[in-house]
Subunit: 338 residues, 2 copies
């Protein structure tokens, strides 16, 4: 994400204002504001997951840095990631686009081709939308709808002291890619990270498996930085989280690439945004079972799963080194400011 001008409210304060007094549950509403998706009662024992996420020109993307087709793919993928984070399967989406006056029709087509390619990969279908000329730059706002078995849905709340913290994949790659784009570094060794920034892969099948495992106590997708999003699990569960710095997966190539951009790889991994990996906690008495099942299923995933920390009594997220000493968070994670 591109950083914004400082303003008087950050995104979380604004969301708090907007959703003040919003119900957490109602007849038919299983879960309201405050998780990756809201959840409403569906049919046949399943619930619908509903989420909305928008990409704005000049804020989330620069058209000279990303092709319309890739942008279309990404706009839908970031919404699908929220469904994956609840253990759900994506079904439908609605798209609102604002198109600047001189935006070429072939680029609108490419944008929708990208969206359709991502939709098709997840067997999702468009069910509505609104289109509008925009005097003010391109924007894509998507509402995505998924489904989940009522009893299997995973929330941010649910972590208990003693639970173990796991993550899928690696972290910081997307933030490094953004840094490369900002600095004009397009060398072959940077392409992987630019691709991670431009083409996030929502972890749908992994999320479905985690939901079906009955071992997971809480889950979130990591879009605002690993430390920040683990903080959401901690806050919603009323617990603290201790992250073992050395357990965070930092591939050799990533460490080298970060260094060549004058970036601290650990700081990128903890606070960089837009990784779209999953972070989750496994119930303390199910860790052995989970590890056993994971060994069987992991070869079918195209990513690793790493144990990176523990749920503790208390609050907030702390990072410790191999000797147990607390390490500072270099930055507090990405914040949209208004």
């Amino acid at each position: 994400m591109l950083r914004m001008t400082q303003y008087r409210m950050n995104e979380f304060e604004l969301i708090k204002m907007v959703t003040h007094g919003a119900p957490v549950s109602l007849d038919g509403l299983v879960c309201g504001v405050g998780d990756d998706c809201s959840v409403v009662t569906g049919h046949g024992g399943r619930d619908y997951l509903i989420t909305t996420d928008a990409l704005f020109e000049g804020v989330h993307f620069r058209p000279d840095w990303i092709s319309p087709k890739t942008l279309g793919r990404k706009a839908l993928a970031v919404n699908i990631s929220d469904i994956a984070a609840m253990g759900g399967r994506p079904l439908y989406y609605l798209v609102t686009i604002g198109v600047p006056d001189k935006f070429p029709v072939k680029d609108i087509e490419a944008l929708f081709d990208g969206m359709k390619a991502t939709a098709s990969a997840h067997r999702m279908h468009i069910i509505g939308g609104d289109t509008c000329g925009s005097k003010k730059g391109l924007l894509i706002s998507i509402t995505a709808i998924g489904e989940v078995e009522h009893a299997k849905c995973l929330y941010r709340k649910g972590a208990t002291p003693g639970d173990v913290v796991y993550v899928t994949g690696t972290f910081g790659g997307s933030a490094l890619g953004l840094s490369c784009l900002e600095k004009g570094l397009r060398g072959i060794e940077m392409r992987e990270y630019i691709r991670r920034h431009d083409e996030p892969t929502p972890r749908v099948s992994t999320g479905l498996w985690l939901a079906s495992s009955s071992c997971v106590s809480s889950m979130i997708d990591v879009s605002d930085g690993l430390a920040g999003d683990l903080g959401h699990i901690a806050e919603m569960s009323g617990v603290g989280i201790k992250v073992h710095a050395d357990a965070i997966p930092l591939p050799e190539g990533f460490i080298r690439a970060a260094a060549s951009c004058q970036k601290d790889p650990r700081a990128l991994a903890l606070t960089g945004g837009e990784d779209y990996e999953l972070a989750f906690t496994v119930s303390k008495n199910k860790e052995a079972l989970f590890e056993k099942m994971l060994k069987v299923v992991l070869p079918t995933f195209n990513h690793k799963i790493a144990k990176i920390g523990d749920v503790i009594e208390g609050k907030g997220v702390g990072v410790i080194d191999m000797h147990g000493a607390h390490l500072p968070l270099v930055s507090k994670g990405f914040e949209h400011r208004f």
Copy 2:
């Protein structure tokens, strides 16, 4: 709505491109793209209605013409109108807003106060959203979710030759109000029309009653102009519609106000946008029953219901005078162009 720069595609062409290949129905999807809302299977014999509609600064509104609070009310009301048009009851909404850098926080609060006031009047609840700084003007994109009894849902399709065409309320007032805003006419006799433009009243209770009456064969809300929206019923039902010009409700005050703005009142009523009234057809063999029931219930509505035309074999919408002569449509209705 403010008119846009001419562009290479109109809104309907763009929607066609976007939704090309989209399913009309799937397992769990009762109705896909192509009506006021899409419809997905709910629980307990009810379905969910889902719609999305956005307001863009400089396209749908000018901030010097409408207060943030009124804008918030309107942004949600236009979405609720789509739910009313299917005979549904609004339940939930998700809001994405893009806020310009220097937009005052008190105006964001006022915007949400307006939205909450409309939500509260309809017992709707916010269940999600996304907030973002916008380099490019204010925008509000809303997804609204309602519910309807499965068997009672009213679609644009369903009109049959011989059916009778009805409308709620009056038409053209909102377009006249926009014209007053454009011309800087703010006199006391114009305030009613400016209010109609700024503060649409979605016909939810009327829509619910119409759905429960079992007499209605098709329904739509009139947002793009009466002639244009009746055209959608005609197209989706595979029929023609004959409108009796003299039956269109044109109050005396409206005729005078239109004249003082050098506008043809009938043209405003047929092609002006944003009335957010309901247009519907009553099955030919149920007209007498419908009229009987209507007589009982009408005093509880705060608007009239008028019979304005007939469904015929053929296609398109024609307007005839009292002698049966065809009248031309002065304009083809409002089109967003891109």
